[in-house]
Amino acid sequence: MYSFELVRPKSLAEALSALKEEDAQALGGGQTLIPTLKQRLAQPSKLVSLSAIDEIKGVCVDDDGRLCIGGGTTHGEIVASAGDYPALVSLASRIGDPAVRNRGTIGGSIANNDPSACYPAACLASNATICTDHREIPADEFFQGMFMTALEEGEIVTEVRFPVPQKANYQKFAQPASRFPLVGVFVARFSDGVRVAITGASEGGVFRWTEAEEALSDNFSPEAIEGLTASADGLITDLHGSAAYRAHLIKVLTGRAVKAAA
């Protein structure tokens, strides 16, 4: 690790000001960034830890009935406090292990947008709104490809607002080593339709399987997708599975998610 200055602002305003400095970088739970720094793959001069900012932590329900989760909320806190959205709790409870869940944050996860992260699937399937220090971004616009988001330099994820679906389920098929999803499928059924988000599978990061959404919006049952085939184009091929295998898993897991949710 190169040496750097660590600052731990207690307010969002202080954090934003600190991030204005050149080569300053925001630090969430550090589950990805710290290993990256230790391998000397990044060299920020200043790390701005967001972990002491109480105003971006916690879980509540807003007037529209949306579940609002502060960007600095850890996976463990979500498991404990997001009972209004059981599928999200279930997702959070299966990230990593207890130590990881005590440190990793939802804001850090979605800002990083690892193509194998779990939360992006929940955000996209739930049609969540990602709130930052100065704007609100719909999930459909937020995730822009592997490790790419709509966030600007120095912008902080302050809150994620989840409309709570009528029914939802997250199926995670773990990559055997990392236990990240080799494929993860989040299915959410709302009164106006079904959304299906896929993580782990695509070179382009999290995406929606629109054919399945259409079929499931008409008929929310596993049978509805029997005739569909997820395309392997653009899917990841690596040590742990081919694009064709991932495409196959997308369909299997979508069916399982629907069955579990229905």
Binding site: A177, F180, L239, G241, S242, Y245
Partner: protein, 814 residues
């Protein structure tokens, strides 16, 4: 009733007190006053010519003490290989130089080029980044079969090719084997890969070198399974330091599994640099470095043919194996695919004719050497897989086919040079059938079916040769070391004993089990016996711990030394009690004279040995301390039968191990608790090999599985309950304890059981899949079921040449 002390008791481990309180003393816990830190600048490419190294900018960086390159080591030797294999034509293997720091070329990702010694590790890393390397990248050879083709890039320019040796065993049998196979009623053929693995002890390697200005003495603290071997190899062959000026200490070691047997460059570097820099020098491996510098394991590609007559008797066996050596010869690498593998190809069976051919190949990958089992898992896997396939082809019960061919009379001389002294393979199979509840399998399969899962049962036998090894025999086979073990037993005046052993405990529990033996022999409490190990300064020259040898060889040395102690103590007792030596009996810590009521306590005699007032000084020296070196006259042959039940998810290919049972014959047992633990751990590693672990390179020689994010280690939810039994005991006939060794059995016996079970599940599910190469990841199983390509990344060095990824995953599917 189980005993509560001595031989056969599950004595709780005394070393656990320090391990459980965090007070163990591991090498990284050792910090020497004034120590500097070394960071190795390593090659990030698999093969390149070093045209230049410019350290000038780095040398001026803060905290830098000195920067070393290959040139600095021209005056010292290279890392030696401890075994010379002679090929089919009577020629010695090709043996390349193995410099401490790369010289001229780099040959694998991770090959050390420069070593930066600095005041802090961060400063050493900073300086390493300022070193300018001029590397001319060369084409890399990763695939073994490509590597031996004419015109392939050469890993070592001064060798004639990348072929280390072409070994035939038993060469004289070759024609007879060929003929038997051509005339057989049935021949089953299988091509398979024994996957490349990384040992991954949880403690990374560490070395701390120290040099005393006043005396010129060197000390190396290192994570080793055999400190004396390191002292000999490094002192005599690399650095030219006489052994009496070199002390090697291997304190608590956090697991080894073979990977800490070998002498590594970092050990030699830290020792040498300590004098050059006049500072102690410490190196702690990162996990990334461990992945690319610890010797890897296995990596065989094999074609095996089993011939049977019309009555299903095995008539001949022929194998051809490519074995990856990596870029250099690690300490014992050449012996693994030859003498530790070919000699086991008879397995538990009376196959009369066997021919084993092994081509060892250099590639631009990390050196490959022994990993838990070393050669014997490779032999067992191919044999037990081909037998299973034969049973399926012939439509016979796989257990009955094995039983029909079991060796049943002992001693049994195999056609591959070893003689099994004792065993009872039907007994362990019977026991297995009982503890695995094989009778209940069909009912469990029905239950699985209700859940939408396919259940399969895999059963196999195994045998291993351990208790390594008769020195005169291994000397004829090319070993450049003896393989005896030593013990000094020192009795103190007040009766307590210290056993100084050349064996090394890094989890095996010697500190508890060895005293159980000595305490039993004398009849005193176990806590009167202490074990000292791991320091060349206070233990006799010993060969260390590997090959399931500690109790069988090291324990035997301890028994011999203790016997000498008892013999001398009896003479002292006889003198004091004015009796004849031959009338003295020692029982429960008391010397008695047969036929009288005279007695002396153990402590009275030990005190007399050191306060020799009433003592036969004319005939005997005072004191009570004896050393024994024990050289076994044969290997030991643990054997057993394993059963695995898996559930396969037909939709995803995911395999779950539902049950695992192991019935082992380890001969006599000293501590059943420790034996259970050794078997559990071995099975977990075998399940890891079968289902999870895959060390993979891409075609350019980059290690793809270079962290725990891609190298799948078994975790708590990957493994089942284990049902283990070692009540079948045919004691070893040639060592004093009748023990055989249990450290590797689990890792040897379990992979074929897992794979046999998965194949069984798929067949029961209606898929005609006859083989899938390990690890049986969900992707590979699904691909095999669906005739699709299982893309497990780019190239794998072990890939068979027919070997599209498809061929690999589908194996023998027809």
């Amino acid at each position: 009733m189980p005993k509560d002390t001595g031989i056969g008791a599950s004595s709780k481990r005394r070393e656990d007190v320090r391990f459980l309180t965090g007070d163990g003393n591991y090498t990284d816990d050792i910090n020497v006053h004034g120590q500097a830190y070394v960071h190795f600048l390593r090659s990030d490419v698999a093969h390149a010519k070093i045209n230049g190294i410019d350290t000038s900018a780095a040398e001026g960086m803060p905290g830098v003490i000195r920067i070393f390159t290959g040139k600095d080591f021209e005056a010292v030797g290279g890392l030696p290989c401890g075994w010379q294999v002679t090929d089919r034509h009577g020629q010695p293997m090709q043996e390349p130089k193995h410099p401490v720091l790369a010289h001229g070329k780099v040959r694998h990702v991770g090959d050390p080029i420069c070593a930066v010694v600095a005041e802090t590790l961060a400063q050493a890393r900073d300086a390493a980044e300022a070193i300018e390397l001029d590397l001319e990248i060369l084409p890399a050879v990763i695939n073994m079969k490509e590597a031996v083709k004419d015109g392939a890039p050469k890993v070592h320019d001064d060798l004639t090719s990348n072929l280390c040796y072409d070994w035939g065993f038993v060469e004289e049998n070759r024609a007879a084997v060929d003929e038997a196979i051509s005339k057989a009623a049935h021949v089953t053929t299988l091509e398979l890969v024994n996957n490349r693995l990384i040992a991954n002890p949880m403690e990374p390697r560490v070395a701390v070198g120290q040099w005393e200005k006043g005396t010129g003495d060197y000390t190396l603290y290192t994570t080793s399974q055999n400190p004396h071997v390191i002292r000999l190899l490094m002192g005599a062959f690399v650095l030219g330091i006489p052994e009496h000026k070199l002390r090697v200490v291997a304190p608590d070691v956090g697991g080894g599994f073979g990977s800490k047997i070998f002498h590594y460059a970092e050990e030699a570097f830290c020792t040498w640099a300590a004098k050059e820099c006049r500072r102690p020098v410490k190196w702690t491996s990162t996990r990334s470095e461990a992945f690319m510098t610890d010797a890897h394991g296995r990596d065989h590609v094999t074609r095996i043919e089993l011939a049977l007559d019309a009555d299903h008797n095995f008539t001949a066996l022929r194998t051809e194996t490519y074995a990856n050596m990596g870029a250099y010869l690690s300490t014992f690498a050449p012996s693994v695919p030859t003498w530790l593998h070919g000699t086991l190809m008879a397995g538990n069976y009376k196959t009369p004719l066997i021919y084993v051919n092994v081509k060892a190949v250099f590639t631009n990958t990390v050196p490959v050497d022994a990993y838990r089992g070393a050669g014997r898992p490779e032999a067992t896997f191919q044999l037990e897989r081909v037998i299973d396939k034969a049973a399926r082809e012939l439509g016979v019960d796989p257990i009955e086919l094995r039983r029909k061919n079991f060796v049943t009379e002992f001693p049994y001389a195999t056609p591959v040079a070893v003689e099994y002294d004792t065993g009872d393979y039907n007994a362990t199979m019977d026991k297995l059938i009982e503890i695995a509840d094989i009778a209940g399998f069909e009912a469990r399969a029905e239950e699985s079916k209700k859940k939408g899962l396919w259940r399969g049962l895999g059963v196999n036998s195994y045998i291993e040769a351990c208790g390594i090894a008769p020195s005169n025999l291994v000397g004829q086979l090319g070993a450049r070391a003896g393989l005896y073990e030593s013990a000094t037993v020192r009795v103190n005046a007040t009766g307590g004993l210290v056993v100084m052993t050349g064996s090394h405990s890094h989890g095996q529990g010697h500190e508890t089990a060895f005293p159980q033996v000595v305490a039993d022999m004398i009849g005193i409490p176990e806590d009167m016996v202490e074990v000292v190990h791991g320091d060349t300064a206070n233990t006799p020259m010993g060969m260390g711990t590997y090959g399931s040898r500690s109790l069988a060889v090291g324990g035997s040395a301890m028994v011999r030394a203790t016997e000498k102690i008892i013999a001398k103590a009896k003479k002292i007792a006889a003198h004091i009690m004015e009796a004849s030596d031959s009338d003295i009996e020692l029982k429960d810590g008391k010397f008695t004279v047969a036929g009288t009521d005279k007695s002396l306590a153990w402590g009275d005699v030990t005190l007399a040995a050191y306060v020799p007032h009433n003592y036969p000084l004319k005939d005997m020296e005072p004191g009570l301390e004896e050393t024994a070196f024990y050289d076994p006259n044969n290997f030991t042959y643990p054997a057993g039968a394993y059963a695995c039940e898996v559930e396969v998810d037909p939709e995803t290919g995911k395999v779950t191990v539902a049950r695992f049972a192991a019935a082992d014959d380890f001969g006599n047992i000293i501590n059943p608790m420790i034996v259970d633990g050794q078997v559990h751990g071995g099975i977990a590693q075998g399940i890891g090999q079968a289902l999870l672990e895959n060390c993979a390179y891409d075609e350019a020689g980059q290690l793809i599985s270079a962290s725990y994010m891609d190298y799948a280690m078994p975790r708590a939810d990957d493994v089942p309950f284990y049902s283990v039994d070692h009540s079948c005991q045919t004691p070893c006939t040639h060592n004093p304890l009748g023990v055989k060794g249990c450290g590797e059995a689990g890792a040897i016996g379990s992979p074929p059981a897992v794979v046999n079970a998965v194949i069984d599940a798929l067949q029961r599910g209606g898929k005609n899949v006859t083989h899938i190469d390990m690890p049986l990841s969900p992707a590979r199983v699904w691909a095999a079921m669906n005739g699709a390509t299982a893309n497990e990344g780019a190239a794998q060095p072990a890939a068979r040449d027919s070997g599209s990824a498809e061929g690999r995953s589908l194996g023998g599917q027809v």
